[in-house]
């Protein structure tokens, strides 16, 4: 697949529906996807991708490489918020720096799923362990973010502090992770028989459902674009450069532990993406002084579209050079 073909991919569904959503908002259309439908489709996508990952994992088995992938995934999820915080602290106050750092330490399932789409079009496989890695990377940065916040933030009302144990439980047991990991286990256990049963639902209509979801994402991201202007150049730059830097790290690690092209691509995408769902939800509670009007738009209206439009083709292109 050369670069032209690759760009061609962005004209085929699902990706263009994201832009349709964006444009609708910019044109001030009243287009709106009902909230419960968003929730349904996002649970559907998690179930589908988790299940598929489980089936793949059954086929690949648990090798040393699988262990290495999970280890480095965890590592990236812990280190990223640390240096992201260090950068952000130059311009933001502690709570906002900590919350935003946490978002970038975590991952975006939709970016991951859109990336898996590119591989599928190019007929390249990736292992089920990447799904496990995604699940593993979702929450640690929440803990790091809260730790940074508490360490560096002087707050009188200590009594009001969230119970830390409670926070950890919530971080690791939010609905998304439960569905993703649960479906992975169902896939792992039922494998080929399960796949045969579920394929029409989790496979065949998957891209259509993803198209619909990206339409919604476009609308939601579009509505947050206004907040970007307020965020200023520093945050826009951060939202683009940090993913690029993380992608480099991701590619380096992939080479180091000898991942094949598909796995390397997915691992890179995990490193380069930022969370706009799970982490913000946790930060709202754990770091109430941080402004969701800042940390959500950076992840959702800068990093996410950047990855979809520029990042994914770029990472793919670089990795193809390396592996091809």
């Amino acid at each position: 697949m050369d670069i032209e073909q690759l760009l061609g991919n962005f004209l085929a569904p699902p990706v263009p529906f994201f832009f349709l959503g964006l444009i609708a908002v910019l044109a001030k259309s009243d287009l709106e996807i009902p909230q419960q439908i968003s929730k349904f489709i996002s649970l559907y996508l998690l179930m589908a991708i988790g299940f598929k990952g489980g089936v793949e994992l059954h086929h690949s088995g648990f090798s040393t490489q699988v262990g290495l992938v999970l280890l480095f995934a965890m590592l990236m999820a812990i280190i990223t918020p640390l240096y992201a915080y260090w950068i952000l602290k130059k311009r933001l106050d502690v709570p906002n720096a900590a919350a935003l750092a946490a978002a970038f330490g975590s991952v975006s399932a939709v970016t991951f799923i859109t990336a898996s789409n590119i591989l599928q079009d190019a007929d390249i496989k990736y292992g089920g362990e990447m799904i496990a890695a995604m699940a593993l990377m979702e929450s640690p940065s929440i803990i790091i973010g809260v730790w940074l916040y508490r360490k560096y933030h002087d707050h009188g009302t200590n009594a009001q502090h969230m119970d830390f144990k409670e926070l950890v439980r919530e971080a690791f047991l939010n609905g998304s992770i439960v569905v993703l990991l649960g479906s992975l286990i169902v896939g792992l256990v039922s494998h080929d028989k399960g796949m045969q049963i579920m394929k029409p639902f989790t496979g065949d209509i998957f891209k259509g459902m993803l198209s619909f979801f990206l339409l919604d994402m476009g609308v939601v991201a579009g509505r947050r674009l206004g907040a970007i202007k307020q965020a200023g150049l520093f945050l826009i730059g951060f939202g683009i450069l940090l993913p690029l830097f993380n992608a480099c790290l991701g590619i380096a690690i992939s080479s180091l532990i000898g991942l094949n092209q598909g796995n390397a691509f997915m691992f890179t995408v995990l490193c380069a993406s930022a969370s706009y769902i799970a982490v913000p939800a946790a930060m709202r509670i754990a770091v109430p002084e941080a402004n969701p009007g800042i940390y959500v738009p950076v992840a959702l209206a800068i990093t996410f579209p950047f990855n979809i439009m520029v990042g994914l083709p770029l990472y793919y292109y670089v990795l193809e050079r390396i592996h091809g």
Binding site: I277, A278, G293
Partner: protein, 99 residues
């Protein structure tokens, strides 16, 4: 009238619903009513009611009770609301039917 009651209304981020409900339950009031799909705007920006992006939505809780209970409820939720945002208002009403 002896059936004068206080009506407490709380609106805050959806993320705090479970916490608040627990706190209110602990005060021992006999009941409350909850709305889960609430949009709005306040000092902490706009909630367009959308579920994706970390849940930009609110919840609404209404408690009807006598004045003594009302003070308990307000004290119970004060910490969460004053730290995490939202509003809590109280007004007068009358029981008509309840059992």
């Amino acid at each position: 009238m002896e059936n004068d009651i206080k009506k407490i209304e709380i609106i805050t981020d959806y993320a705090f619903l479970n916490r608040l409900v627990k706190l209110i339950d602990d005060t021992g009031v006999s009941g409350y009513t909850i709305l889960k799909d609430v949009a709005g705007k306040g000092l902490r920006g706009s909630k367009d009611g959308h579920g994706i992006a970390g849940g930009f939505k609110n919840c609404y809780i209404m408690v009807c009770c006598d004045e003594i209970e009302a003070r308990k409820v307000v004290e119970a939720v004060r910490g969460v609301i004053s730290r995490y945002g939202g509003i809590c208002i109280v007004s007068d009403a009358h029981w008509v039917i309840h059992n």
